[in-house]
Symmetry: C2
Subunit: 259 residues, 2 copies
């Protein structure tokens, strides 16, 4: 397929290379950040920069908006395409309907469920892609495009995708924050942060094998009030972390009551 990319950030960076590798052709890249765009174009010998969002004169099958969530509506308002062109965004949290203003486009969502950074190579084959479209033909087309770069393609509507995004915030963003707190506590104690790695790995491995609520361990789940009090006291100087410790403990205990 002939693909136009809008955006030259982390997602565009990984998608462009995967599309090219799969035999598709990235024909043009639009980005408000010219330096990022030109960096990306160095990896794409057949692609050209464009300064306009009028794509009506280009032979493009799919336009991929790989821009921040907050920028999608603005880009959609400016974008002009040939009737029948597929236009997708790549956001986990934004509805398909955000693209409805684009005249003549067949709209869809093409969401790679992964966290991207340019520095870190990723095997997109293992990344789940969630696709959505208004009509069956477009959905098929997007499913094929996704399957050409990934082995994990799912058709998921906007409502379920919203739930999934919320779940991802808990499992990834919030988990990263807890790992950050742990990292800081180790640092304060003069201990190497690598010390907890095997335990973290095992925790994640276990939570993939069993429902996590059923394998919950620790002072909260065994209602060990002495240890909990001692920990709260150790966090006296970090009231935000102390409050978080308390709420997480309460949530674990509420969960064990619910069982």
């Amino acid at each position: 397929m002939n693909i136009a990319l809008i955006g030259a950030g982390n997602v565009a960076w990984h998608l462009a290379q995967a599309f090219t590798k799969a035999g598709h052709k990235v024909v043009t890249v639009y980005s408000r950040t010219a330096t990022q765009r030109d960096e990306l174009l160095q990896l794409l010998p057949n692609a050209r920069a464009t300064e306009k969002t009028d794509f009506t004169n280009l032979a493009v099958d799919v336009v991929v908006l790989a821009v921040p969530d907050a920028a999608i509506a603005g880009v959609a308002a400016q974008l002009q395409v040939k009737p029948g062109t597929v236009v997708v965004h790549t956001s986990g949290s934004q509805p398909l309907a955000l693209l409805q203003s684009i005249t003549g486009a067949k709209i869809g969502v093409f969401y790679p469920l992964q966290t991207f950074s340019k520095q870190k190579a990723l095997d997109l084959k293992l990344v789940p892609f969630l696709v959505e479209a208004e009509d069956e033909a477009t959905l098929d087309q997007l499913t094929q495009l996704a399957q050409s770069i990934s082995n994990q393609v799912q058709q998921v509507n906007s409502e379920a995708r919203k739930q999934l995004h919320l779940a991802a915030v808990f499992a990834c963003n919030f988990t990263n924050h807890l790992l950050g707190i742990s990292h800081q506590l180790l640092q304060n104690a003069g201990l190497p942060h690598t010390l907890l790695q095997p335990l973290i790995q095992e925790t994640i491995a276990k939570a993939a094998l069993y429902p996590p609520f059923e394998v919950q361990t620790g002072p909260a789940s065994r209602h060990d009030a002495t240890t909990i009090q001692a920990h709260l006291q150790m966090l006296e100087q970090q009231p935000v972390f102390q409050e978080l410790y308390l709420k997480l403990t309460q949530s674990i205990q509420a969960q064990s009551l619910a069982k």
Copy 2:
């Protein structure tokens, strides 16, 4: 070394096998749960059960208390050993001093920093062992014993071990709870829980490579009030999780202000 085990739970189960494999001799096992003890003894052809905690007539170099935290003081109060016998507990959160009541013993801590279950095989070589003792000779002895079964041995005092345990509660117990919430949200949306696995793996991998606070992503860190409000509303029916979402968001934002 000749080793006596007190306890026949998950930790004892893994330690006994590792000691035997490393050429040590587990000579006796004491446990209040006879069925667990006898199960463990089936793996240890040279060990015998004992019903008493008077070990003064046994040729034992090290007595390992692999019992729940709350049981350590009780066992220590009953235990009798030959003068000079090394006695250790295996707890991450309990101080060395808990063993001070044991007459004539050289006391120490022998803490495997991992979560154990009998069903799941573990390579102890990769598990960090934290050792502590009151005197240098005992510390050397425990370090050697630990090094015979693990490649990751650290000498850590009770104060640092307490900090480490608190860090582990955040990185593992609390993380598991967040994974449980995520698991439940996916289930509610009719989505397979495997969908988030690659993202979780990548989150953990990134947090091992970079300080987690520096690679924090998500609606909280980008101060995306619209998404945060939408998520809070989606959690309306689960007030405990809603509160947790709010506190975690606030903690992430407080952290980014602190930078």
